[in-house]
């Protein structure tokens, strides 16, 4: 497989599409769906082990996680547990999309906060509103998880957030 | 390519082999080769205590060492390697009882009669020389300011460089497995890299000398004993200038190296043995004895302990001379811990012997056949 992404340190959306089948538009609209960005065969299994509906297939520990999007119930446990912080959830809601992502930095935003949206290479691509926060103590993976509402055209771009500093 | 014919083949690339090659070269012998089974200095030279002293108790060793010091102090310039210098920082034998005192007084008289400027000094004077000494039980010291030390690494490096530049062939990682004898005379050597013709072979293999000798059916009593040494982390230079020696404390000897670290050891020995594993009991014993001589050393860390062979003879004096049974075969080995300091004089004597058949130095004292005649020398003190 082409591993050009390793000279950059991030995946392009095109690369991701080649690696992982994408959920259908229809599925994306129905309810949140988990999408892994885990391109390498690494010995790691927590996502498959924790999934309550066995939606993640992984025949051996060194296989890449493959999500059965029809089975996925959008519970975000995989986002919470993933050691590589490589699972995200996406949910199309008309003009906006909700992105659920891990956030292990301080400060942890609050529901309703407007935050800066970052793409896979850390570029500021706009602002979005936090709609849900699972704090560290409630996360099964000890990782706070944040759901942020973004313009739907940024659904496949936004993969991190930055909480605004005072006056920003 | 290694030469297949030489005039003199020297077995052993330690200080004795190298220095003897140098002396032979000075006398016009131009086809010399040295064979070292490991790297130069790897046998005893690089494991030695670095000390050079004239404070011996017999005339021959004093005369030899006086000559050796003259040569050591001039070597750096002679071989155009000024980095090498003998540091004449003295030897200080600490004396703790009247027996020791009377013995050393006698030695000093003999040394003075041969031109060595040693003297007995008071504990206060000793403490002036080494301010950190615990002199509470010291009754005096034997002190000779012209003794000292030198860096064996630089001595070997400097000599090897000079010899190579002057056409002497130095073969490292080349083991001599046998000496070829034809009609009672040396004809060459067998090495791990092939045979070499030679009419003169010098066995300068020190602890390993007997392995070759046994193959030739000659036998001088040289046995390997494990001796150990330590070095410490560096501290301010000049705190312990001379080689400090105390028989009271396990036969301890210690001095500061050029970088400020201590080098030294105690007389604890094991053998005969080929084992060179450093031992834990030595580590503790050396610390105990050193801190009793200089208590402030308790704050200083030991960073390395190693072991090397003293190639010992029954009277702790070397075996230097011509081997009568085989024409062209010479030996300069069994230095019993004094090889480094004696090297220049032993080399001069041996080179004289090989080129002229005689020498003005008292080499008879080290006559290889003294043992079979039952003429053991007074034991030389093995120290630093």
């Amino acid at each position: 497989m082409n591993d050009e992404y390793l000279s950059r340190g991030y995946l392009t959306v095109e690369e991701l599409r080649k690696l992982t089948p994408m959920p259908s538009e229809e599925r994306l609209k129905k309810k949140p769906v988990a999408v892994p960005e885990c391109p390498q065969e690494i010995p790691c299994t927590p996502c498959a082990e924790i999934c309550p509906v066995n939606a993640i297939s992984m025949p051996t520990p060194n296989d890449r996680p493959m999500v059965d999007y029809d089975k996925c119930i959008g519970c975000s446990l995989c986002v919470q547990i993933c050691p590589g912080l490589a699972f995200f959830m996406i949910h199309y809601r008309g003009e906006v999309a909700r992105i659920t992502l891990p956030h292990e930095l301080l400060p942890v935003p609050k529901r309703g906060d407007e935050v800066i949206l970052l793409n896979r290479k850390g570029e500021n691509v706009g602002t979005g509103k936090v709609v849900l926060v699972i704090p560290r103590e409630k996360s099964v993976g000890d990782t706070p998880v944040v759901t942020v509402e973004v313009p739907v055209e940024l659904a496949w771009e936004v993969r991190a957030i930055r909480v605004k500093e005072a006056g920003e | 390519m290694m030469k297949n014919k030489v005039d003199v083949a020297i077995i052993g690339g330690g200080i004795i082999g190298l220095y003897t090659a140098y002396e032979l070269h000075k006398r016009g012998v131009d086809n010399i080769a040295i064979y070292e089974k490991n790297y130069l200095g790897s046998g005893s030279t690089f494991r030695c205590g670095t000390g050079i002293r004239q404070q011996f108790g017999d005339e021959a060793n004093i005369r030899m060492m006086k000559r050796a010091v003259e040569k050591w102090t001039g070597l750096g310039e002679e071989i155009n390697f000024p980095k090498f210098k003998m540091a004449q920082t003295g030897y200080l034998f600490l004396l703790y009882d009247e027996d020791e005192m009377s013995r050393f007084k006698k030695n000093v008289e003999l040394q003075n009669s041969l031109g060595v400027p040693s003297r007995i000094i008071s504990p206060e004077e000793a403490q002036e020389i080494v301010p950190t000494l615990d002199t509470s039980e010291v009754i005096g010291a034997s002190w000779n300011p012209t003794d000292g030390k030198a860096n064996p690494f630089l001595a070997v490096h400097g000599l090897a460089r000079y010899l190579r530049e002057n056409g002497v062939e130095i073969n490292e990682y080349t083991e001599v497995r046998d000496v070829i004898v034809k009609g009672g005379a040396v004809d060459g050597i067998k090495t791990s890299r092939g045979e070499v013709k030679a009419e003169i072979v010098l066995n300068a293999a020190n602890a390993w000398a007997k392995i070759i000798n046994e193959k030739l059916g000659v036998n001088f009593p040289i046995e390997p004993y494990k001796h150990q040494g330590i070095v410490s982390e560096p501290f301010k230079k000049g705190e312990i200038k001379p080689m400090v020696i105390s028989f009271r404390h396990g036969g301890a000897y210690l001095t500061q190296k050029a970088n400020g670290g201590i080098i030294g050891g105690i007389a604890l020995k094991y053998g005969p043995t080929w084992d060179l594993t450093p031992t834990y009991d030595f580590l503790r014993e050396v610390a105990k004895n050193f801190t009793r001589i200089i208590p402030a050393l308790k704050y200083i860390t030991i960073i390395r302990q190693w072991a090397g062979y003293y190639a010992e003879t029954p009277d702790h004096n070397a075996v230097i001379g011509k081997v009568k049974e085989i024409d062209g075969y010479y030996i300069s080995a069994g230095f019993s811990g004094h090889g480094f300091m004696l090297a220049p004089a032993a080399a001069e004597g041996m080179a004289d012997l090989i080129t002229k058949g005689s020498t003005s130095l008292p080499l008879d004292f080290y006559d290889p056949y003294r043992f079979e005649r039952g003429e053991l020398r007074e034991q030389a003190v093995q120290m630093g």
Partner: protein, 93 residues
């Protein structure tokens, strides 16, 4: 240009890359000999940092395989120890 006299290979004894490369250029490629001339590996860190670096320099400059470079022996004490501790500890206070 890189100034190799400012690249420290051995912190303990302050040996630079230039000093080591100069020795190799003089034909001294044996790590034991380089160690003894420059005192790399003989300081309080006991060669933990510098010996692998020197092996790398020798390999690069001579074409030797690093696999074939025999590293110097590791001696006791494997960590520097104060003589007072070896005697029995500093509980005399």
């Amino acid at each position: 240009m890189t100034d190799k006299s400012k690249i420290i290979i051995c912190r303990c004894n302050e040996v630079t890359q230039k000093e080591i490369e100069d020795l190799i250029d003089q034909g001294i490629t044996d790590i034991e000999m380089i160690k003894r001339i420059t005192h790399i590996g003989m300081g309080p860190c006991q060669g933990r940092t510098c010996i692998p670096l020197v092996a790398g320099i020798i390999a690069r400059k001579t074409g030797m395989r690093i696999e074939d470079i025999v590293i110097p022996a590791t001696r006791i004490p494997v960590r520097p120890v104060a003589m007072g501790v070896l005697v029995g500890g500093d509980d005399e206070e």
